[in-house]
């Protein structure tokens, strides 16, 4: 399997090298057709400094990069661009795709022009695949990088069930670090896996009446187990200090927290229920002009090299098969220590959360904190 991928990657690289050679000779000739107007996230300097030059060297396509600070702004710009043009491709998170499509902004990708087999299992197929397509099955979104929230575990002190479960966060044997709203979702998913909920936990994300019922149950159960919480976190620092200064043994934290603590006797473990995960990726504007170039960038970011570079720029995880080895070896070892193919396929992608949902979620978090 691995061999095959390596081969296809080499083949791809050879092909791109062949493409790149004339591009160097006659870049002007290509410039008119070899452009892509890409709108993405501001603040990730490596994109401009390293990633786009590498992409241009590989394909001859010049990326005109517009940096925007957040997704609301991207959405507003996309609405303008629907009239005025000027944007081919944008990089939102997957939970926004539905709303973007409802506003008539998105065009469909042609899977034949991409390499859908390049993606790691669970990222572009399964539940994520379903969310990437519209009602008719047209592909609206392909992933570019992703991250997780799972168990950070003190290897000496934590009492884990076998296999490790989200329930370990609520066991009196452990001292835990949590962030309130994730903790309630973890409790909900744990109860769901135990078959103790009246309907699936996921239903709460689309139906507000069910949401209050489900979250009431999760809140009551979580409050019962609140005695073992030693620290709430909202950012990286607090999460880290919860372990080092406040002596927590288990926590539900970002992958970066586990990475920073990896040499201090902590490991990052995907629970049996599946790690929480988010991903962002590419969508194409309905009135995109440089359609082939857009496909080319999306495809390049699914290759081992492209995916690794893109993930490094965002300090997150790559989407392409074989790209883990292309990362910094330290990161690669950490990453493959947590996610084998099974853990990957079990990833639980944060569902779409409406504004109403998030406000209500905050209320539950406050009740949990105050209890």
């Amino acid at each position: 399997m691995t061999k095959n991928i390596t081969l296809s990657r080499r083949g791809f690289m050879a092909a791109t090298a062949a493409l790149a050679a004339p591009a160097i000779i006659s870049s002007k000739a290509l410039a008119s057709s070899g452009e892509l107007n890409f709108t993405g996230w501001a603040g990730y300097d490596k994109l401009k400094a390293e990633v786009f030059p590498a992409f241009e060297a590989a394909t001859g396509i010049k990326v005109n990069f517009t940096e925007l600070p957040d997704q609301d702004t991207m959405f507003a710009q996309a609405k303008v661009a629907l009239q005025s043009g000027g944007i081919d491709m944008i990089e939102p998170t997957i939970d926004r795709v539905g709303a973007w499509n409802e506003n008539g902004l998105l065009g469909a990708f042609d899977p034949a022009k991409l390499a859908m087999d390049n993606y790691l299992p669970g990222l572009a197929d399964g539940a994520a695949g379903k969310r990437s397509a519209d009602a008719n099955g047209a592909l609206l979104y392909v992933p570019s990088n992703w991250g997780t929230e799972a168990l950070v575990v003190n290897t000496a002190g934590a009492k884990l069930s076998s296999p490790a479960s989200l329930g370990d966060l609520f066991s009196a044997d452990n001292q835990v670090v949590l962030r309130p709203h994730s903790a309630l979702a973890a409790m909900g998913r744990y109860l769901d896996a135990q078959g103790k909920l009246p309907f699936p936990w996921l239903d709460g994300y689309s139906d507000m009446a069910k949401m209050t019922q489900l979250w009431d149950i999760a809140l009551a159960e979580a409050i019962k187990a609140k005695g073992n919480v030693v620290q709430f976190w909202s950012g990286e620092n607090e999460a880290n200090a919860g372990f080092t200064a406040n002596g927590a043994t288990v926590g539900l934290c970002w992958d970066s927290t586990g990475f920073n603590l990896r040499n201090d006797g902590y490991s990052y473990v995907a629970p049996a229920e599946g790690a929480f995960a988010w991903h962002q990726g590419f969508v194409m504007m309905k009135n995109a002009v440089n359609i082939d170039q857009a496909h080319e960038l999306a495809k390049w970011v699914s290759t081992a090299d492209g995916a690794a570079m893109w993930a490094t720029a965002f300090s997150s995880n790559p989407v392409g098969k074989g790209s883990a080895e292309k990362l910094n070896p330290d990161v690669a070892a950490y990453y493959s220590g947590t996610f084998n193919d099974e853990a990957l396929s079990k990833l639980w992608w944060w569902p779409d959360q409406s504004a109403e949902f998030i406000a209500k979620r905050g209320e539950y978090a406050d009740k949990y904190k105050a209890a």
Binding site: F75, A76, K79, S234, A241, N246, G247, A359, D366, A370
Partner: protein, 311 residues
């Protein structure tokens, strides 16, 4: 105005007026007006802004009084809306901070103003100021480290054999808000100390001596002479410390226990986590209003006028 013109001439006076106007208008009035306007509009997706659902209403303010939960007040369990609970706790513990800060400041201020030789005062004030040179974030974080389980306080107490087992100080020994109160007092105590010191300095020492000559015990001298004279200082110090404590976000976030919640955290949650600026703006305004009511209520209670504070 005429005075100002005579003293500084047209150019400088113009600059003064323009800069003050800029400060007031651009940095205070306009942002607050924008916030005020925002607070009456519903939180809508970008696509629906300016659409038929984008109408003014007081809905965001009503949220403050929604979702009641149990709260124990002097041993009685009553149902109080969640946000109101947070508000009441915040105000209560801000008052505690103010009282504790006063209890520390009064003797120090008296010592500085009336006891110690005037020559040493600059040195002492410098010593008091030094902690302020460190940023507020670092000071809060330093207290976090001191109070944590693996922190120096526990290490010292256990190491010296005073305690057998390390204690989670941050979770609170008396209340859930202990660590926050400690952090806030530490951060804002000088805002109490210096106004009181200022007020006390203007007291004629002869008055104290006269009281003592006439046989007043020390506590009566303080109660009848020093305290009344320092009232403006105490009032302005209290207002400052209370408002700073109630408005602090950093200290409660850093030092809060797993059971504490400060109202500023609620506002931050609405603004950043929920991205619901409209509700966040409504909470902010309500908070400003309610805190102002508390401050004026207390001033009335202690018969302090606004002009006393401005002195």
């Amino acid at each position: 105005m005429g005075d100002l013109l005579k003293r500084y001439g047209g150019t400088l006076t113009g600059a003064f007026v323009l800069l003050t106007a800029f400060w007031l208008l651009m940095l205070i009035i306009l942002p607050n007006l924008a916030l005020f306007e925002t607070s009456f509009r519903p939180y809508l997706p970008v696509a629906e802004m300016g659409g038929p659902r984008d109408v003014y209403s007081a809905d965001n303010y009503v949220k403050f009084f929604e979702s009641p939960g149990p709260m124990s007040v002097f041993g009685f369990e009553i149902a109080v809306p969640l946000r109101a609970q947070t508000f009441l706790y915040t105000v209560f513990y801000s008052v505690v901070v103010t009282v504790v800060a006063f209890a520390f400041s009064y003797p120090i201020a008296f010592y500085l103003a009336k006891v110690v030789s005037p020559k040493s005062v600059p040195t002492l004030i410098l010593l008091l100021f030094i902690p302020l040179w460190v940023s507020e974030a670092l000071r809060a974080f330093a207290w976090y480290i001191i109070l944590t389980l693996n922190g120096p306080l526990n290490a010292a107490l256990v190491g010296l054999g005073i305690m057998e087992k390390a204690v989670r100080w941050q979770q609170g020994v008396f209340t859930n808000y202990d660590a926050i109160v400690i952090g806030l007092v530490y951060n804002y105590i000088l805002f109490m100390l210096f106004p009181i010191y200022n007020a006390m300095s203007s007291l004629d020492t002869n008055q104290i001596e006269a009281a003592q000559d006439l046989g007043a015990p020390w506590w009566k001298t303080h109660l009848r002479i020093v305290l009344p004279h320092s009232k403006p200082g105490i009032a302005s110090g209290s207002v400052m410390v209370f408002m700073l404590a109630a408005g602090s976000l950093l200290v409660p976030t850093t030092l809060g226990s797993t059971r504490s919640n400060w109202f500023t955290q609620t506002i931050q949650q609405a603004m950043l986590e929920s991205q619901d600026w409209n509700t966040g703006a409504a909470y902010s305004f309500l908070y400003l209003l309610l805190c102002t009511v508390v401050v004026f209520g207390v001033m009335r209670l202690f018969k302090v006028r606004l002009s006393d504070i401005a002195r």
